[in-house]
Amino acid sequence: MTDEEIIKQILQGNRDAYRFLVEKHQSMIFRTCMGFLHDKDETEDLTQEVFIQAFQSLQKFKGSSSFSTWLYRIAVNASLNKIRKAKKSSLFQRLGFFHGNDQMKTFDIPIPENEIPENAFLLDEQKQMVQSALNSLPENQRTAIVLSKYDDLSQKEIAFIMNTSEGAVEALIQRAKANLREKLLSLSKKSIK
């Protein structure tokens, strides 16, 4: 059964059919959100929000693009909104930190059990460096690189999701890689000092 057929059933009142869509697409939406948030719990919450938002707006889905593209757009917008909100509140968090009544946010990515502690620590440092470099990118570059690296989407698919041309996506990814490289270099120099 195609996504469009399932959507038709849902709109006819069979709400339980939505479970099929959720189960089919949850991994890809989770990966996309993970590329923006880097935290499993937060990503699960956001994935839930995305699917609820999609369910509530299902009547607006006209089928001009595929359901997965439409879902990707919702996920990217939700992720960017969440990051914007977090940035706004970060000023207050920093003020709280100076007063000593707040803890700095740490990333929480599970380390595979078979990794020895030294490697796990190194990987954790590396993760934070890469995540920090990725977070410093402008929104459109970040979106393009996340869809490319985390979801392995082609430039054509990314162009469709971002509503732009393939050439623009190619340029965005090139700029994102160059910026990421610069940022990683400067962060690694700082960590050596």
């Binding site: 959720v22 991994s27 989770f30 699960e44 990515i109 990987l123 890469v130 990421l180």
Partner: protein
């Protein structure tokens, strides 16, 4: 090969997409250039981190959680619609009006009341309790 060209080919080099000739040139340049080697190592680390995050799977009960949340939201919406007009609108309105009336009455009654100290003429029956009119105790003592 110069640094710019080397950096340009790094992605393809890492992914093994370069023809043998260019691959050998990039390899030779990396072995002789510390800066390019540093970039290569950092990009390899970045790819490692991306791949590490990519394989993290959501909770297997995520879809159940999502469906339960949707069901709860729908039930909530339906229960709001099923509440009769009296309970939804009239009752809260009556309570609000009662509270406003009680506050207004309190204010009015409070303004009507005046304490005895603020009255100009003390009533006759209260003069016995007027301390100012009592005889001084000093005058009654022998000293």
């Amino acid at each position: 090969m110069n640094c710019n060209l080397c950096k340009h080919e790094l992605n393809a080099y890492r992914e093994g997409r370069l023809p043998e000739g260019i691959r050998a040139q990039v390899k030779a340049h990396l072995e002789s250039c510390e800066d390019c080697m540093a970039v290569y190592n950092l990009e390899t680390i970045a790819d490692k981190v991306f791949n590490h995050e990519k394989v993290i799977q959501p909770n297997p009960f995520l879809s159940t959680r999502i469906m339960a949340k949707i069901e709860t939201m729908e039930q909530h919406a339906n229960s709001r619609e099923s509440i009769p007009f009296y309970s939804r609108v009239v009752k809260p309105a009556l309570i609000s009006v009662s509270v406003i009336a009680a506050v207004y009455t309190g204010v009015v009654v409070g303004n009507v009341y005046q304490p005895a100290s603020q009255t100009e003429n003390i009533p006759v029956e209260l003069t016995y309790f007027n301390d100012a009119a009592l005889e001084s105790v000093d005058l009654l003592s022998d000293n």
